[in-house]
Symmetry: C2
Subunit: 199 residues, 2 copies
């Protein structure tokens, strides 16, 4: 037997999501079929409406239902600092720390020549325009410590040099609660390289 | 910052699915927002249509877009055997083995007094009617080896005794590829208890 057709289509859709394999997709589809019809319709509407109302902020390229986004239009944020991230999910992760009060710039990707993603494909030009047009003191590069993240950070920091502003990168090292014994060598090397004086 | 509102609602919906925690829900929601609008609409329609078209088969209570379902209406299936399962997902798992050519009966649950699920809440009466009304030679009980599955199997096998048909249960024992050393004691006990003579 094959799946009854609408079920097969449903499973196929769920499988398009990252991290969702055939088993999870089947479980989600069967769960959906057990929901009341009103709730399924509600979910379907929420999806379409979210897609229709959420756009990229024209200043920082964060995903938001308002433009400029909630962060760019918040007067309590420090408008002199920009934290550069690759994706909206990275912005969300930083926001959840409640530690950072400046603005963001979401590149929407990292430089990756192998995947055909070059300088024109991510929002680097827009970052330069922001720095040219507004009064920025510091740019924090918060890209992942991957090959692509490193390359993108290097590229941006070179471009920003002539602006004579502070450029920083988030720290890489041992995660809190981890054990030196079990840290991988690259992380440990980064942690030693990035050591700080105790005052 | 909070999530922009439609995104928060979307994440909340995804979190209702089994096995989807806050992180996966966020990842799925952000992925959805990156899909083209046409595809989001397509997904939304597929969901609603699947919900509207898929119903329980009036014979075996399998989920299907046709009634009777594809299995009950397939002439090549052996109509003298019924395999009793708890949920549609169990039926799907058995179908994927391509080993079983009989019919099914989906109980839509197992007896679980603690959760308030009694005999009237699952499709036991309908199973008895099928056995009374049609020519059944064998009933295979394919319920999980849990407390509820055991209780439900016992209950049904007692009810079926007067019908004078073969009643069997699927075998419990060591999974193929596993190691006796690491098998838990209950499984190992079941494997010894269910041993078979080599001919």
């Amino acid at each position: 037997m094959e799946y009854t057709k609408p079920l097969a289509q449903l499973i196929e859709f769920f499988q398009k999501f990252p991290g969702i394999g055939p088993k999870s997709a089947q479980r989600m589809a069967l769960h959906l079929l057990k929901m009341p019809e009103s709730e399924v319709k509600n979910f379907a509407n929420t999806m379409v409406e979210a897609k229709q109302h959420i756009h990229y902020c024209k200043i920082c390229f964060n995903m938001s239902a308002s433009d400029p986004c909630e962060i760019c239009s918040d007067d309590r944020r420090d408008k002199s600092v920009i934290c550069v991230v690759a994706e909206t999910k990275d912005l969300i992760a930083i926001e959840k720390t409640h530690e950072y009060k400046g603005l963001y710039h979401v590149l929407q990707g990292t430089l990756s020549p192998l995947d055909g993603i070059g300088v024109e494909d991510i929002r680097i030009k827009e970052l330069l325009n922001r720095i040219t047009d507004t009064d920025i003191n510091e740019v924090i590069l918060a890209l992942s410590p991957s090959v692509e993240g490193e390359a993108t950070s290097m590229y941006i920091s070179k471009l920003l040099k002539p602006f004579n502003i502070k450029i920083s990168r988030i720290a890489f090292g041992l995660p809190i609660g981890s054990d030196i014994e079990f840290a991988d060598e690259i992380t440990l090397a980064k942690a030693i390289e990035g050591r700080r004086l105790i005052d």
